[in-house]
Amino acid sequence: MQLTVWTYEGPPHIGAMRIAASMRAVHCVLHAPQGDTYADLLFTMIERGERRPPVSYTTFKARDMGTDTAELLKTRVQETYERFRPDLLLVGEACTAELLQDQAGGLAESMGLPIPVVPLELSAFSRQENWGASETFYQIVRRVLHAQVPAPGAAARASVSERCAGRRPRANLLGPTSLGFRCRDDVVELTRLLDSIGVDVNLVAPLGATPADIARIPEADFNCCLYPETAASACSWLERMFKQPTVKTVPIGVGATRDFLSEIGALTGIDVSAAIEASTSRLPWYSRSVDSTYLTGKRVFIFADATHAISAARICTEELGFKVVGLGTYSRELAREVRAAAARYGVEALITDDYLEVEAQVAALHPELVLGSQMERHIAKRFGVPCAVISAPHHVQDCPARYAPQMGFEGTNVIFDTWVHPLMMGLEEHLLTMFRGDAEFHDEATPSHLHAPAKTPPATPQTPETVSLAEGGPTAQTAPDAGVAWSPEGERELKKIPFFVRGKARRNTELFAAQRGIQTITVETLYDAKAHFGR
C-alpha cells in the first residue's frame, strides 16, 4: 500500500480517456463502477470542453455484481456503438473492473462489431495515467496500421531526401493530447515553423485525428515525437515497422528549437540556417538587456513531467542565466532521461510521485523560483516563492484564452514572460535597495497615493487547516530549534535589511545558527550566515 495525499497522475484509464477525448470518431467504453464518471469533469471543467469526452461507462453497482457484469458490459458496448457510431472503439477497465476479471476487451472484440475494437490492458494497480495514454495511442496505431506493415524482406524504404525529391517533405506531429500542457497552441506554432522551412504537416495525432488519419501516418516522411510521455512507444514502433525516422528533439526553448530545425535539416537535406537566423524569438535579446542582469543566478527548482522538466532546465541555465538547484519528475518511465539532464546541471534528480517529498525538497533548497505543475504552484504559494506552471497536471487558469504555446520561437516569448514576471522586480530591485532608508519606504508605510495611515492587518485566524499545516507541514521543518534567540543588536541589524528579503534573511540566519548550535544570534552570526548563503 502506498500512502498518497495528492497524485500527479491519475490511473491509467484516465490516459486512455485522454486519447479518446483527443481524437475524433473514436469512442471508449470503460468497464467501471458507479462514480468513475467523475473523470468527465477533468475535460469539461479544466479544459472547458464543449463536448462530453467520448467515453461510456458500465457504472456497475453491488447489485449488478450479483448478476452478470460481463453482460452489462456487452449491453453498454452495443448501445454505445449504436448511439455514437464511432469508427473505432476502445474498450478498457478501470481498477475495480480489472479485479472482476470479466476480460472486457476480449468480450467486446468477440461481439462482431463492424468496426475495429481495440482492447486495452491497463494494469490499473501498477501503472499510471501517462503510461495509459501512451499504451492506448500505441495500440490504436498498431491496430489501424497492422495491415499496412511491409512484409519482411520487402523493398527497403527510401531515405527521406530521396523520397522528397521534387516535393516538400511531410511530417507527422505525434503526442499532443487533450489535458496535455498547451498542446493546442504548440501544434499551431510548430505547423507554422515547419511551413517556414518548407515542411508540410501530414497529420497531428492523437489531437484532432480520426482513425482514418491514423491510417495515413506512413505517408509522412518522418515523425516528430513532441511529447515522449505519450508518443515514444508509437514512434519507436513506426520506426521499426515502417522505417519511418523520428525527430526526437522537443522544441521548447531557443536552443532546442534551433536543434529541432537542425535535426530536420539533417534528415531532409533542407538548409534551415535562414529559418534559424530569422527567428522571431525575443528571448535572446530580452535576456541580454541590462534589466535582466538581476536574473543572474536566481535559484530555480523544477519539477514536472519529463519533457517539460528537461526543457526547462536547459532554458533556465542557457537562456535565462538562472541556476538550477533542483530538477525532478513524476514521469517514472522517463526517469533515465531526467537523471541524465540533472547530471548536466550538477544536481541529483528527484524521481517521485510523492508530493510531500517534493515539498520537503523545496523547503530544504530555498529556491527563488519554482517551475512545476499545479502541485508545485500550491507548494510555492505556501512558501511564498514565485512560481510558474510549466506542465500537466494543471488547472483551469493554465488553459489561457490567448495564444500561448510553449514550443517554437513564439513559445520562447511566452516562456520569458511567464517565468520572469513572477520574479516581478527587475530594475525595481535595485531601486528598492537604493531607497530603502527613506522614511516613506518601509514595510508599514502606506502607499503614497493613499492618505490614511495603514492599519495593521488583523492576524490571520488560525483555521484548522493552518493549524494542521503548522504541525505537519513544511514550516515545522524550517522552524529553528527552540534554543536559538536574537541578540538586540542582531535584531536591530536585521531590521536594516530591506523588508522584502528580511523574512528570508531571518529564516536563513536561524537555520544557520541552529545547524551550528549557536544559541544567540549576533550581528556577526547574521553576516556569517549571509556569507554562507550568499552567492
Binding site: 500500500m1 502506498q2 500512502l3 498518497t4 495525499v5 495528492w6 497524485t7 497522475e9 491519475g10 490511473p11 484516465i14 463502477p33 458507479q34 462514480g35 468513475d36 464518471t37 467523475y38 473523470a39 468527465d40 469533469l41 475535460f43 469539461t44 471543467m45 472547458r48 470542453g49 464543449e50 463536448r51 462530453r52 461507462y57 458500465t58 457504472t59 456497475f60 453497482k61 453491488a62 455484481m65 448501445e79 448511439r83 478501470a94 481498477c95 475495480t96 479485479l99 472482476l100 490499473a124 494497480f125 501498477s126 510531500l356 515539498e359 499545479q374 500550491h378 505556501r382 488547472h395 484548522p464 487547516e465 493549524v467 494542521s468 499545516l469 504541525e471 505537519g472 507541514g473 513544511p474
Partner: protein, 430 residues
C-alpha cells in the same frame, strides 16, 4: 405553518416514478469526505482504495488547498492484490505512520472503496484491531478508529455521509430514561447550526445536538427520549440504526425555503408540544424576512422551465422549493434513488404532473433535455459545459452541497444560486 400543514393533511399517492437503468453520471460516496473532513475538525479519512479514489478526491475537491489535508488514500498495489504483502499488515503500517505525524487526529475513519470491497478487505475488523493497538483508544492511545464504506458499488455521492454517520451511531452514549433530546442529522455550515440553535432555544426545544459535529470525542446521547430531525435527505442507514436504539424519527419536509423550514421546525415543535402561538411568535419575523428577500429572485425564476438530473438526493426537496416558492415550472426531477420514508412529505408537496425519474440513463436523459430545452438544468460538472455549449443554461449541483442553503436566512441565497445563471445569461451580449 398552516400552509404546509394543510398540504400534509392531504397525502396522496404520488405517481410511481419512471425507473431508468443505464449509465449513471454521479459521484460515489467517497466525495462526501470533501465536506465531512471540514466539518469534523479532529478526524482523518483514510480511503483504502486505488489511484482512482485518490484522483477522484482531488478532482472533486477542485483544487488542492491544503498542504496535508485530513484525508488521504492508501493505494492498493499489485503486491497487495497478489498476496505478496498482507493487506492488514500494510494497512497497520500506513496508519501508524500517518498517526505519528498527525498529533491532532482523534478519530480515524478507514473508508472502504470499490476495490477494497471487491477483494473483501474487512475494514471493520481492521478498525477493531487498530483500536486495540498502541495508538488506538482501546489500547491506551488517543485515536478512535472507525470504518465505513464510500464505494460506488454501495453508495451514491451523499450516501457517503450517511455511511459515515451510521458508523458513529454505536459510539453514541445511551440517553438516560426519562431524559429527552433532539438530534439534527446532516452536515450544516456552522453559521446555519447557530441560527437553528437560536430558533430551537426560543421555541424551548432542547437539548439540541447536531451530527456530525465539530468534535468527534464528545458524542450526544441517544435513546428512547431522542427525536431525530433530518436536515438532509440521505440518511436511510443512519435512520434505521437510530430507530433501533429507540429514537423517534420525525417526518417532515426538509428545511429549504420558508415553507420547508417552517414545516421542519414545526415537526420538532409538535414533538415538544410547543403551542401554535409560541411557534408563530418565534418564526413569524424570520419567515417574513425570508419571504421578502426571496421576492427579488422569484421575479427571475417564475415561469422558468427546469430539469434536475439525479445527483445528490437534494433534487426533490429543492424542486419542491423552486416550484412552490419561486414559481418554477418543473419538467423533470431525477433522483439517484427514491427513499420513500424520507421523501414522502416532499412528494406530497410536489405539484402534479412533474416527471419523476429514479435511477439514470444519462444518454436518454440528455436526449430529453435536448428536446425540451429547459431554461435551467441542474446537473453535475461533467455535463454542465457541454449543455452550455448547446445554448442551455445550467446550475452545477455540487455547489448545493457546499453552500449554506438551509433555513430562513439562506432561502434567498438558495434561490439566487438558480437565478444567477439566468441573470448572467441575460447580461452577456457576446
Amino acid at each position: 405553518m398552516s400552509g404546509a400543514d394543510a398540504a400534509l393533511a392531504r397525502p396522496r399517492a404520488y405517481p410511481e416514478p419512471l425507473r431508468e437503468q443505464g449509465q449513471c453520471e454521479v459521484f460515489c460516496g467517497l466525495s462526501a469526505i470533501v465536506w465531512l473532513h471540514r466539518k469534523m475538525h479532529d478526524t482523518f479519512f483514510l480511503v483504502v482504495g486505488s489511484r482512482t479514489c485518490a484522483h477522484l478526491l482531488q478532482s472533486a475537491a477542485g483544487v488542492m488547498i491544503f498542504a496535508e489535508p485530513r484525508f488521504a488514500t492508501a493505494i492498493l498495489q499489485e503486491r497487495d492484490l497478489a498476496g505478496i504483502a498482507d493487506c492488514h499488515d500494510e494497512l497497520d503500517s500506513v496508519v501508524n505512520r500517518l498517526l505519528e505525524r498527525r498529533a491532532d487526529i482523534r478519530t480515524l475513519f478507514l473508508v472502504g472503496s470499490c476495490p477494497s470491497e471487491v477483494i473483501k478487505l474487512d475494514l471493520d475488523k481492521a478498525a477493531e484491531r487498530l483500536n486495540q493497538g498502541p495508538l488506538g483508544l482501546a489500547g491506551g492511545g488517543r485515536v478512535k478508529v472507525l470504518a465505513f464504506s464510500g464505494s460506488g458499488l454501495e453508495t451514491t455521492f451523499t450516501q457517503g455521509e450517511d455511511q459515515c454517520v451510521a458508523a458513529l451511531v454505536p459510539e453514541l452514549p445511551r440517553l438516560p430514561s426519562g431524559a429527552r433530546n433532539l438530534l439534527v442529522l446532516g452536515t450544516l455550515a456552522d453559521v446555519v447550526e447557530d441560527q437553528f440553535k437560536r430558533v430551537f432555544d426560543a421555541l424551548g426545544i432542547g437539548p439540541v445536538h447536531f451530527i456530525p459535529g465539530i468534535d468527534t470525542t464528545a458524542f450526544p446521547p441517544v435513546g428512547e427520549g431522542t427525536s431525530v430531525l433530518f436536515a438532509q435527505p440521505f440518511f436511510n442507514e443512519t435512520a434505521g440504526l437510530l430507530a433501533s436504539r429507540g429514537a423517534r424519527l420525525l417526518s417532515a419536509p426538509f428545511p429549504f425555503g420558508v415553507e420547508g423550514t417552517l414545516a421542519w421546525l414545526g415537526a420538532a415543535a409538535r414533538a415538544w408540544g410547543v403551542s401554535d402561538e409560541q411557534f408563530e411568535r418565534v418564526t413569524a419575523a424570520p419567515a417574513e424576512r425570508a419571504r421578502g428577500s426571496l421576492g427579488r429572485y422569484r421575479e427571475v425564476l417564475a415561469g422558468r422551465r427546469m430539469t434536475f438530473l439525479p445527483d445528490s438526493q437534494l433534487e426533490i426537496p429543492l424542486a419542491r422549493f423552486l416550484a412552490r416558492e419561486c414559481g418554477v415550472e418543473l419538467l423533470e426531477v431525477g433522483t439517484p434513488y427514491l427513499d420513500r420514508r424520507a421523501m414522502q412529505p416532499e412528494l406530497d408537496l410536489l405539484p402534479d404532473g412533474v416527471r419523476l425519474v429514479e435511477g439514470q440513463d444519462v444518454e436518454r436523459q440528455l436526449d430529453r433535455v435536448a428536446a425540451e430545452r429547459p431554461d435551467l438544468t441542474v446537473c453535475g460538472l461533467g455535463l454542465a459545459n457541454p449543455l452550455e455549449a448547446l445554448g442551455l443554461r445550467t446550475k452545477w449541483s455540487i455547489e448545493l452541497v457546499f453552500t449554506p442553503i438551509h433555513g430562513f436566512e439562506q432561502a434567498a441565497d438558495l434561490a439566487e444560486l438558480f437565478a444567477r445563471p439566468l441573470l448572467r445569461s441575460a447580461a452577456l451580449k457576446v
